[in-house]
């Protein structure tokens, strides 16, 4: 499928989905329960795609992503609630601060490999949560009240931007560099790629979008508390990426959608939900570790089969 055709098809699909969603919500066909689920779905997709860039494309095993979600959530909440500035501005600033946090966390930790990197990111995620727990300005343990400002429109726009940016990044020499790092970091070094730069860049971009998701998140649920952003949340996001297939953007999207639906329906039974999640996780890892899509994209099934990811 030609590149340009793919782009326009994506855009048309996006507009169509947006239109349908908007119509369903505005006319009240979809009640609050469903429209809330849709927005939650979008937030989860953004989170999944942002983590996909870090783990799936660049191979950096980060399991503290909820920390950046927290940064975006709290910062954007401060901007709207304390400074009474517009929502859009709040989201953008939330994203930027989250990206800076990503930079701060990434620079020292990205020199670590594998298990150690995972634990370090987990540690940082916890530290961020504990920091917010201790700041009275944002309500400490009790949390912070945030007005509901997230709409289908604002969420959808953020989603489209997220997917476009990360997809464009991936399908470029920069994305190729990141995939090279994932495949064989030493060889990537030897081929002239500044691996530290790209690892940190991918990490920061991933954090940026997690921050954006945070802004949407905090303005959707009336209250945010540090407990929302613990490692269980990081694992939730991790599960989207892993089940979707490490290295597949569309896989992350699909997994996020499916798991949001499942989790919303199982809202009443949180233990059952977690048991199902964990069993699925273990079974998938044992019997189909490449997840749903492996490293393939949904567009690979249409037209000429491209066996390489990141090709032009």
């Amino acid at each position: 499928m030609k590149k340009v055709t793919k782009f326009w098809l994506f855009l048309i699909l996006a507009v169509v989905i947006y239109g349908i969603g908007q119509a369903l919500i505005q006319t009240g066909i979809l009640n609050a329960f469903y429209s809330n689920m849709l927005i939650l779905m979008i937030i989860n997709i953004i989170l999944a795609v942002s983590l996909h860039l870090v783990i799936g494309i660049t191979g950096q095993f980060s399991i503290g992503h909820a920390g950046f979600l927290a940064v975006g959530a709290y910062v954007s909440a401060i901007i709207t609630m304390k400074f009474e500035l517009p929502f859009v501005l709040a989201i953008i600033i939330g994203g930027i601060v989250a990206a800076l946090a990503g930079l701060l966390v990434g620079i020292p930790t990205l020199r670590l490999r594998g298990d150690y990197l995972a634990i370090a990111t987990l540690g940082f995620g916890e530290i961020i949560r504990i920091v917010f727990l201790n700041i009275e300005y944002v309500g400490g343990a009790a949390g912070m009240m945030v007005s509901n400002m997230t709409t289908w429109t604002s969420a959808f726009v953020c989603l489209v931007i997220t997917i476009l940016v990360i997809s464009n990044f991936t399908n470029s020499r920069h994305g190729r560099a990141c995939i090279a790092i994932r495949e064989n970091e030493i060889a990537a070094d030897a081929m002239g790629i500044n691996t530290t730069f790209y690892k940190v860049a991918a990490f920061s971009i991933g954090s940026f979008f997690a921050g954006i998701a945070g802004g949407l998140f905090s303005h959707n649920f009336y209250i945010i508390q540090p407990t929302n952003f613990g490692f269980l949340k990081s694992f939730d996001i991790l599960i989207f990426v892993v089940l979707g297939g490490l290295g597949s953007l569309s896989g992350s999207v699909i997994a996020a959608i499916l798991l949001t639906v499942i989790s919303t329906y199982l809202q009443q039974y949180p233990e059952t939900r977690m048991i199902i999640y964990s069993v699925v996780l273990v079974v998938v890892m044992l019997y189909r570790p490449q997840g749903l899509m492996g490293t393939r994209e949904i567009t690979d099934f249409f037209g000429k089969k491209k066996s390489a990811k990141g090709g032009i």
Partner: protein, 260 residues
């Protein structure tokens, strides 16, 4: 005209162990030189010193007049030294074409933002990279595999691809680490031809680690011999073939008689 590569008493120490010490080497433009020695002699370690993977704890490495000590590997590559690895290090999930494209990464200048926003510079430079990579694959007769994932190639072609990829970075000096590993005599012969071909075609200087003596004696103009991290001999193949120290290093010392 000075030597392209000058290594002066280089060495590296890990804790108490001197993996390589007092390493002296001079390579002139266009030479095809071999580096041999028994297993564990420090050959790959020397390569790692030359390419910036290890920082020398002693001595100097001068390339094209520039001191390389302490440069990161990617910087060394950008200065004109490329290498292949003992265990093939291809980007398995990337296509053959993409593997070569990665080599052009540092030549392109368009920024991350330019790619994200799909500015003209992104498209023009990507096009150039695509064309150059394709041409390169044709030279190595790998273009028929261009969309195949690197991991799916047969072993011999993978080695070929690794060499092609290293060359796509336009190096002045190419380091080949046991390129003939795992090859049968027929493949080794083809490799020898390939190496001779690329040396002429690309005006290269080549330093090659090998265990296959037929290959080394067959194409190298000069040979350096390492044992236990130190240079024990240097010279033309004829000199090395009969050098007592080299024979001793490979075959061990004479067994002392029982009543000594």
């Amino acid at each position: 005209m000075g030597a392209l590569l000058q290594v002066k008493s280089a060495g590296i120490q890990f804790g108490g162990l001197k993996a390589v010490s007092g390493f002296n080497m001079e390579l002139n433009q266009g030479e095809l030189v071999g580096l041999i020695g028994p297993n564990g002699a420090g050959k790959t370690t020397s390569f790692n010193l030359l390419t910036g993977v290890y920082v020398p704890t002693e001595g100097d490495i001068l390339f094209d007049g520039k001191r390389l000590n302490g440069l990161a590997p990617y910087q060394v590559t950008r200065n004109g030294i490329s290498r292949t690895f003992q265990n093939i290090r291809l980007f398995s999930e990337l296509s053959v074409l993409d593997n070569v494209k990665v080599a052009y990464h540092s030549l392109a200048k368009h920024s991350i933002l330019s790619s994200i926003f799909r500015l003209p510079s992104h498209f023009s430079e990507e096009k150039v990279m695509e064309e150059k990579s394709l041409e390169f694959l044709k030279i190595f007769q790998l273009d028929r595999f261009k969309d195949e994932k690197a991991k799916n190639l047969p072993y011999g072609q993978q080695r070929r691809l690794e060499i092609a990829r290293a060359l796509a970075a336009s190096p002045k000096l190419l380091l080949l680490d046991e390129p003939a590993a795992g090859m049968n005599p027929q493949e080794t012969h083809e490799l020898m031809e390939l190496i001779a071909f690329i040396r002429n075609q690309f005006d290269l200087t080549i330093l090659l680690i090998e265990h296959d003596m037929a290959l080394v004696m067959g194409i190298c103009e000069r040979i350096y011999v390492l044992d236990h991290g130190q240079l024990i001999a240097e010279g033309t193949p004829d000199v090395i073939r009969n050098h007592p120290k080299v024979i001793e290093a490979y075959l061990g010392e004479e067994v002392p008689s029982a009543d000594a």
